[in-house]
């Protein structure tokens, strides 16, 4: 059974006013459990609307035609809405702006508390969530979230969502506005989360390098439609389409293309620096010795 099943999902904002906008246009999507799904697309392409359907934050507009089913729970079913919210954890953009409690511990406990778990379970989950995001419990638990650094605040906010131990974790631009060190730490954390907490992860990002590195599968959205769908290599091989829908190629792919222009024979489908390195190493160890020299100079 797939973890997420979207059928004929259409959503229109401000229907019948001059501001009318078709945010989702007949979306069909099925995501297997254990997938790391990357969603890319310009601002306003419908990514946020799509992810907010997954836990019923945005209600399905036309219940007769569209359906949203997550882990067997229908998002149109009112009775299981709460359960759905705990099944799908969403970390929104700039989640640190949603912190509100006077201590880190209480803030992280907000979700589990709403789940009506017993107090010992809440404490255990808060402790675990903080450790998972790399914040020492004894050091941070009693501090105010407002006095932490930007990166630390974001970790607390993420901990607040994963303390609910959602089976599906959705992250909207999780590294936006962070410094390079913060970025790579959070990205490493997300990879770890898939192993430890939530087997299925959906990440929305404008950064093609991050997405190419982390995702098993990528969908590219444009104007409310899914324009490309496949593995990172498949999606980013579609150079014209990527350009057409206002996106960029990952750095490694662009470098590979430049190297190919210079006459170095590299295979297509390179999307990460690691893949590029491996391909170059293969050439170096192989026969085409003169070409490798050129590669090293670039």
């Amino acid at each position: 059974m797939s973890a997420i099943e979207l059928k004929d999902l259409t959503y229109i904002y401000s229907k019948k006013t001059p501001f009318e906008k078709r945010a989702l246009d007949d979306i069909n999507l099925s995501v297997e459990e254990g997938t790391f799904l990357g969603i890319i697309g310009e601002t306003g392409s419908g990514k946020s609307t799509l992810i907010q359907h997954l836990n019923g934050l945005i209600k399905v507009q036309n219940k007769k035609v569209s359906s949203v089913v997550v882990n067997g729970l229908s998002a149109t079913e009112k009775k299981t809405l709460k359960q759905l919210r705990f099944e799908v954890g969403i970390v929104f953009q700039y989640p640190e702006y949603q912190l509100f409690e006077d201590t880190v511990k209480k803030d992280v406990a907000y979700g589990p508390k709403n789940m009506k778990l017993p107090q010992e379970e809440i404490d255990a989950r808060v402790r675990r969530a903080l450790e998972v995001v790399g914040l020492n419990y004894d050091e941070f638990a009693e501090r105010s979230p407002f006095e932490l650094s930007g990166g630390e605040k974001r970790r607390v906010a993420i901990a607040g969502v994963i303390a609910m131990q959602p089976k599906i974790l959705v992250l909207d631009e999780p590294v936006a506005g962070l410094d390079p060190v913060g970025r790579s730490e959070i990205l490493a954390l997300i990879k770890q989360l898939q192993k430890d907490v939530s087997p299925t992860i959906i990440m929305v990002s404008h950064n093609m390098d991050d997405i190419a590195m982390l995702a098993d599968r990528i969908i590219a959205m444009y104007d409310g439609k899914i324009e490309l769908d496949g593995t990172p290599s498949e999606v980013f091989c579609n150079r014209e389409k990527i350009k057409e829908i206002g996106l960029d190629l990952p750095l490694a792919t662009r470098l590979r293309d430049k190297l190919v222009e210079k006459g170095i024979n590299l295979p297509d489908g390179i999307v990460t620096p690691a893949q590029l390195e491996a391909s170059l190493a293969a050439i170096k160890n192989g026969t085409a010795k003169d070409e490798v020299g050129g590669g090293d100079n670039v």
């Binding site: 006013t17 709460k82 969403i90 949603q98 509100f100």
Partner: protein, 283 residues
């Protein structure tokens, strides 16, 4: 949750009403609101409703967008009308039970009050539906200009107003985002009693306040960095001028106000006579 709030939202159509000078619209709205309190007869209410509908049609607004603004005060309307209905004790008694009495005068007071509130809010919402916040703030500044003589900081106030108006949609958007985020963590805002709901809003209000202060700080720095100061040397990009349409609108509203005032004071309620023709025994 707040997506449907329409009061204060600009509704762009390319109509004559939209093109009117903001100052004129502002003054006429104030006139309209004041006049509504002078209406005495049902005839007066019908005339006002007619005028309102004429304006709405000229402005090419869907009537529903105007009526939506009433939704925000529906609770107040229902509450005050119940108070009026049960506790006005003059006139012929129609129904009585314990401390509750409904009288003929009470019924009429209630109906008139509801009409007054509905017309008031729809009329006032026309201003914001047809005028952009920036035009409105400029209009206020221009109207308040004489206050400069007594050293009143008109420009500062106008800037504060424009900023406040500018940030209403931003804050709504932000509120929605925070609500979504807390809902995603299992918060519920629509269950429980009054206090439970008020308490449930804390996880929304606290970040909202914190973020507003942060935003205000950033904006102040940004304005400072561009050497903003509210001296008289500042000039406008768009100068508003009173045109032919403004004069027509002014005359139209003035004649409306005259009819209502004449009806109340001079003719000693011609409208009330008309009311009798129409409603007869009901009064």
């Amino acid at each position: 949750m707040f997506r449907d709030i329409s009061f204060g939202q600009y509704y762009p159509t390319n109509s004559l009403v939209h093109k009117l000078d903001a100052r004129v619209k502002l003054l006429l709205t104030i006139l309209f609101v004041v006049v509504i309190f002078f209406i005495k007869s049902y005839f007066g209410f019908m005339l006002t409703a007619f005028v309102l509908i004429v304006i709405i049609l000229t402005a090419r607004l869907p009537i529903i967008s105007v009526l939506k603004s009433i939704r925000g005060i529906l609770f107040i309307i229902i509450f005050t009308s119940l108070i009026n209905l049960f506790f006005v004790k003059q006139g012929e008694i129609l129904w009585h039970w314990k401390i509750f009495t409904i009288t003929k005068v009470g019924v009429h007071t209630t109906i008139k009050m509801v009409l007054r509130l509905v017309l008031l809010i729809s009329g006032a919402s026309l201003l914001s539906l047809t005028t952009t916040p920036v035009q409105l703030a400029d209009g206020v500044e221009s109207i308040m200009a004489p206050l400069k003589l007594i050293k009143f900081p008109v420009r500062d106030v106008a800037m504060i107003m424009s900023i406040a108006l500018r940030f209403i949609p931003t804050l709504f958007e932000e509120t929605n985002k925070i609500i979504a985020a807390q809902k995603a963590r299992g918060a519920s805002f629509d269950t429980g009693g009054f206090f439970a709901r008020a308490k449930a809003m804390m996880p929304v209000l606290i970040p909202l306040f914190v973020n507003s202060f942060r935003r205000a700080d950033e904006l102040a720095f940004a304005m400072d960095a561009r050497c903003y100061n509210a001296t008289d040397k500042r000039t406008k990009m768009k100068k508003a001028r009173i045109g032919f349409g403004d004069i027509v609108a002014l005359l139209f509203m003035l004649s409306f106000a005259t009819v209502i005032l004449l009806d109340r004071y001079y003719f000693a309620g011609v409208g009330i006579t008309i009311d009798y023709w129409i409603f007869g025994d009901l009064l």
